[in-house]
Symmetry: C2
Subunit: 332 residues, 2 copies
């Protein structure tokens, strides 16, 4: 099986290499097709997201991606945003679970954040009305609202989850979130066997801080999802340990959502857990569910045993030592 | 001294009465001028925020407000939003501190959230482009950006705080948050004795979940502020215990930001802490700083002693018993 690999910037090559090693050790033979994006690509091709990278993903359908940095101040739009919009990866999927060995305020967090990934304020439509007055457009469409809520309910159905919470700010944005809410209710109606709840985004943030364990599937528009995803990541240990997927009808890009950590790049110190877990999601996606489960189990065992962990995880190991442990803990 | 009192809906009359009692016991003689807003006002005058209420605040300059519910489905815009915009209460101020006796994941949280209170997506400008496609306008102006950041730095200066963190999403909204960021940096430049930091809003949310104690003053646009305020409230026990203020050049409205809790309204069970603390902010604002400090101290002592607390605070008391304790703990 061929899968596109975007190593990305900074620690990207190190952590994606670790993920490839773990996938191989889990018994899945993937032929990785390298594609370029990020600062390196900008230097080499004058373009941080070269057309051939998009083409490779279109051809092979599935990609694993390390952190890619968008050059600043040169007029480039975010690589992540362009990938999502260019490939119509309309759903961002972020499972958030308490991990063994990682001390956090809450035990037993187990939720999924489903974020609309293509529109809202990410439409990128802005203009200056007069100097000193700018408008950004928040675009909400029935089509996108309908399909993301449907996606959330399908996720719930396929993963034994029984509550979908739609997050909105319809009391302030009556038209746009009014439309989204109307779509959400209509879809919810088709799933009488799954509980549906609708809550203002500010309430959801407060409730997540008070007790995240009561949530199950959360679904919302793009920018709300950006905020909620990272907040939820923070509740279980941060971006270094949570995986991410961007899914569309045709294509799927799995990515660690942390940054490229230029300060430790190339030193072999980076924590590969986030991209390893993203690779596990990828395995699940391509039908290698047993291998995916083995990788997830290996991550849990490794974190629990606290052997060979990288510094950000409280250990004194490095990328190689934690990857050794992951491989060892795959079992057989 | 005359101060406008908006009792509000649901538990509003009970909790504002408690606040008035505490203020009086703290030795400040306020002549409360009652004004109407909320569901009751909508019934009585066909208008949830009657013109005479705005006029009274304009006349007396300062108000204390309980929770006001905006009637839904009748085309009324949010009372809170209209109050803020109508009186140009451009700054929302939410001090967030760990309280004694309230179990939370983090100790020693002590930060201030400063939220731009008049524009952004709250401008209320929306339209349907074609059926199923809606745009909401996020308006950012140099004038509003400049004054809110300036407000945040002034807050820092006057409250012995040394770090102002500006939260934005300038990598996605390059024009609107680009403008805001530019203003923030320019203002920061005038305050070399206060540290300035700028961070994407998603990062801030994650970092707040991981460790809120490292923040000091947070400043941001309207909707980001809505989300961050409530998230921070969640970190110290929820909306039942945090105060709020809406401040402009001319007027000031202090309010509990929790809801009207219709389920327990009229039963004498409501927790008045949030509005009592909002009243303490009001006292501070009108130059009664010693009395304000006494009220805050009484709140701390009452929560710590765990006597007479309402049910939401883990006690078996009611509004009367907790207010008795507050009065008792004012000391002399
Ligand atoms: C890099 C940035 C544009 C991106 C986003 O806001 O979507 C990131 O925060 C994410 O969540 O993947
Ligand atoms: C009621 C609602 C419109 C309001 C807001 O979003 O500002 C509330 O959440 C608040 O924070 O005071």
């Amino acid at each position: 099986m061929k899968v596109v690999l975007i190593e990305g910037d900074g620690i990207g090559p190190e952590v994606t290499a670790a993920a490839c090693r773990v996938v191989r050790a889990a018994g899945v033979d993937i032929d990785w097709v390298r594609a370029d994006a990020g600062l390196g690509a900008a230097e080499r091709y004058g373009e941080p997201l070269p057309e051939q990278t998009l083409d490779l993903i279109k051809h092979h359908r599935v990609a694993l991606k390390g952190p890619c940095t968008t050059p600043v101040g040169k007029g480039f739009r975010s690589i992540n945003v362009r990938l999502r919009q260019g490939l119509d990866l309309y759903a961002s999927l972020r499972p958030v679970r308490t991990l063994p060995g990682i001390k956090t305020p809450f035990e037993a967090v187990d939720l999924i954040v489903v974020r609309e990934n293509t529109e809202g304020l990410y439409a990128g439509l802005e203009h200056q009305v007069v100097p000193g007055v700018v408008e950004s457009l928040r675009v909400i469409t029935r089509t996108a609202a309908d399909r993301i809520v449907r996606f959330a309910f399908e996720q719930a159905r396929h993963s034994d989850r029984h509550l979908v919470t739609f997050c909105h700010k319809a009391d302030v944005m009556r038209l746009s979130d009014g439309l989204f809410l109307e779509c959400a209710r209509a879809v919810a109606d088709e799933y009488p066997f799954i509980r549906f709840d609708e809550k203002p985004i500010d309430n959801v943030c407060m409730e997540l801080a008070l007790d995240p364990t009561k949530f199950d599937v959360l679904v919302m528009e793009n920018l709300f999802g950006d905020v909620i995803s990272d907040l939820c990541a923070g509740l279980v240990g941060g971006l270094g340990v949570v995986p991410g997927a961007n899914l569309g009808t045709r294509y799927a890009v799995f990515e660690a959502v942390h940054g490229s950590a230029p300060d430790i790049a190339g030193k072999g110190l980076a924590n590969p857990i986030a991209v390893v877990r993203s690779a596990a999601m990828l395995l699940d996606h391509v039908g290698e569910r047993a291998a995916a489960a083995r990788v997830e189990r290996a991550v849990a065992r490794t974190l629990e045993a606290k052997v060979g962990l990288t510094r950000d995880l409280g250990g004194d190991g490095n990328t190689a030592s934690i990857t050794d442990q992951l491989v060892k803990n795959l079992g057989s």
